[in-house]
């Protein structure tokens, strides 16, 4: 949507811009519930396609389970490759949701209201995809529970110095908290859906999910307390989870992995890719459901600014990594960064990463760019690809050329590797579509609150 459509009576750059046109006056509850009662034409084919991709994923996973990890391209020394790349990438995508809803809630950013539910759902589904990989990439996945200290008569326990055990804790916590936070936010809206459901069946279903919420004052009071509490603990998770994921690499001594800058670097990268994914999903939905008045250019602008900031942090991290290698002068680190990545077999990935994640987002300094939906969509796509390649670079390049030249080896993925990556994308989109179809994906009550506070501001 182009800046031209912003109503003239709105003075720009102010929060008033967050709700435009009719969205300022009409009964938003009715309007925002509409998607629940009707199925748009494009929904069915979209569901079929994404479901097929999901089945593809299931097939590939079963095949891997039956035959062994050997059906992947993994090899000595590149023993992690695609699976872990996808894992880090998906987890990263999963960060924007919590970031937007929790962080911005604490920072009392009004503009968060219309988009946070969407972002949270994205988080949950992304983490679901991510969680698949650490399990699947095990040589013997059926023993994954050995990473958990379950009561064992042999009294053999996990080895808690390993970053992988930290991962288990981090991912499971992050997923649980995200789900609780998301669901808690949904309860009042489920209640609205229940109260206004056209049929008894729907009334019943939404009733079940609404848990019997009725908006009593005492309920609201506790609700708000707990919601703030969850936001308070979810916010540090945004930082901790990807920091811990980064420690899978930082605690190893591989040149290109063993680097203190990794935790903040990974978090920044995660939020960058997360924001990109928000754009990629939100912009089409916004257009398809004609939500330009609820998700306004102001929202896009704010998100774009965050994208710009994170991309700058990421850029700084790249620079710092190279600088430290050069300054430290360690022969292995140097050859990893400058021979293998900058000039060697992975140069395409190295420079591609820089272009997609650092240079391209700089265009967002332009206000027009920040407010142009098509541009943001294209940019987000580039960033998304860039972030995946960056993870691939970090993981595969470092592994394929480490200390002894005798064990240097080039890596080529297998067909199954690709199938699984595409499959998770399909599964992710499938879940998103179901969410859009059956769940109020714009927080009704919060937007109403926003509507009211904006009205008060205006009257004041």
């Amino acid at each position: 949507m182009s800046p031209a459509t912003v109503p003239a009576d709105v003075d720009e750059e102010s929060d008033q811009e967050l709700l435009t046109g009719r969205a300022r006056h009409e009964d938003l509850a009715e309007r925002l519930l509409e998607p629940l009662w009707s199925t748009p034409r494009w929904m069915k084919p979209a569901l079929i396609v994404t479901f097929a991709m999901t089945l593809m994923l299931v097939g590939a996973v079963l095949y891997t389970m039956v035959s062994g990890i050997g059906v992947w391209g993994n090899r000595i020394p590149v023993v992690w490759a695609f699976a872990i790349t996808n894992f880090v990438w998906w987890i990263g995508i999963g960060h924007a949701g919590t970031f937007i809803s929790a962080f911005l809630l604490l920072l009392e950013q009004k503009w968060r209201a219309s988009i946070n539910r969407f972002a949270e759902a994205m988080t949950i589904f992304a983490v679901m995809q991510a969680a698949l990989f650490p399990l699947l990439h095990l040589g013997r996945p059926w023993y994954f529970y050995w990473l958990v200290p379950y009561p064992s008569t042999m009294s053999i326990w996990p080895q808690f110095r390993s970053a992988l055990t930290w991962d288990v804790a981090a991912i499971s916590t992050y997923f649980t908290v995200s789900v609780l936070f998301w669901y808690l936010g949904l309860v009042p809206d489920f209640a609205v859906a229940r109260d206004r459901a056209p049929t008894k069946a729907r009334r019943l279903v939404y009733g079940v999910f609404a848990l019997g919420w009725r908006g009593s004052a005492s309920g609201w009071m506790r609700y708000r307390t707990v919601y703030a509490l969850l936001a308070g603990v979810a916010a540090p998770l945004v930082v901790s989870v990807h920091s811990i994921v980064s420690m899978d690499f930082a605690t190893a001594q591989l040149p290109g992995w063993h680097s203190e800058i990794f935790p903040p670097f990974f978090v920044a990268g995660a939020i960058l890719s997360g924001l990109a994914m928000v754009f990629l999903l939100m912009l089409p939905v916004r257009r398809l459901y004609r939500l330009e008045e609820v998700i306004t250019v102001r929202h896009l602008d704010m998100l774009a600014r965050f994208t710009l900031v994170t991309s700058c942090i990421v850029g700084y991290s790249y620079a710092a990594e190279a600088y430290n290698a050069a300054y430290g002068g360690d022969v292995f680190e140097m050859s990893q960064i400058f021979s293998t990545r900058a000039r060697g077999p992975f140069a395409w990935a190295f420079w591609g990463t820089i272009v997609c994640n650092v240079l391209a987002p700089q265009i967002l300094w332009l206000r027009r760019a920040r407010r142009s939906a098509p541009f943001l969509f294209a940019l987000s796509f580039a960033v998304q690809v860039g972030m995946w390649v960056e993870r691939f670079l970090i993981i595969v390049a470092s592994q394929s050329r480490d200390f002894l030249p005798s064990s240097f080896r080039t890596y080529t993925p297998s067909f199954i590797d690709g199938t699984i990556l595409v499959g998770t994308l399909g599964c992710f989109l499938f879940l998103m579509l179901l969410f859009i179809r059956y769940v109020p994906f714009i927080p009704i009550r919060e937007v109403q609150r926003l509507q009211r506070s904006l009205a008060e501001e205006r009257s004041a």
């Binding site: 009964d27 509850a29 200290p149 009294s155 053999i156 326990w157 996990p158 080895q159 808690f160 110095r161 055990t165 930290w166 804790a169 981090a170 499971s172 916590t173 649980t176 908290v177 609780l180 936070f181 808690l184 209640a191 609205v192 229940r194 109260d195 206004r196 009733g207 079940v208 848990l211 019997g212 919420w213 009725r214 908006g215 009593s216 004052a217 005492s218 309920g219 609201w220 009071m221 506790r222 609700y223 708000r224 307390t225 707990v226 509490l229 969850l230 308070g232 603990v233 979810a234 540090p236 998770l237 901790s240 811990i244 420690m247 009550r445 919060e446 109403q448 609150r449 009211r452």
Partner: protein
């Protein structure tokens, strides 16, 4: 003559009307005064004088418990239950314990507070007397709920008139639909 306790709900178009009504109802000696609003409103909470929730305090202890528990498991498994030489690293390596301790603590807060919320609100439940009230939740109107212990019909009529004057569009009785008493549910003195 006295009647058994009666529960009533009044519907108000706007929150402002509701706020005006609350003191009146209270002055009339009604108990269990509560309100239902589409979106949360500080003003309503203030005028109902609902006390701060104690859930955070409880969640805090749950979190500390889980965190300490996690740390203890890590320490015990490594030092007491099955010590072994891993890369010549010392058995006491608390820095390596921190990530898991932190995550467990966070998990403690989240799960405990959510559970406590459900407990405090007696949720989940499918049915509630209010749902039986006509028009309840049909639109974004506000509702005021109260109980009149041993009130006489005449006094109720007066109150009703007063509320109507303040903009209460309808005033309906709340019929108990199940044995479960709802009294503790209400604001004053009942919050966990």
């Amino acid at each position: 003559m006295t009647l058994p306790e009666a529960r009533w709900m009044a519907r108000f178009a706007t929150e402002r009307d509701l706020l005006d009504a609350i003191p009146i109802v209270r002055r009339a000696g009604a108990t269990d005064v509560d309100a239902a609003t589409p979106v949360e409103s500080d003003a309503v909470l203030d005028s109902l004088e609902i006390r701060r929730s104690r859930i955070p305090t409880a969640a805090f202890f749950a979190a500390v418990g889980l965190g300490v528990g996690a740390w203890w498991i890590e320490w015990w498994t490594r030092n007491e239950s099955f010590p072994s030489d891993v890369g010549a690293r010392p058995n006491v390596s608390s820095w390596a314990d921190l990530p898991i301790v932190f995550e467990s603590t966070v998990l403690g807060v989240a799960v405990s507070s959510f559970v406590l919320l459900l407990v405090a609100l007696r949720l989940p439940r499918l049915r509630h007397p209010w749902f039986a009230v006509a028009q309840f939740g049909a639109d974004d109107a506000c509702w005021l709920a109260w109980a009149e212990p041993h009130a006489s019909s005449s006094r109720h009529a007066d109150l009703a008139a007063e509320l109507a004057a303040l903009g209460a569009t309808t005033i309906l009785p709340v019929l108990p639909d199940d044995a479960e008493p709802d009294a503790v549910e209400n604001g004053a003195g009942s919050s966990l």
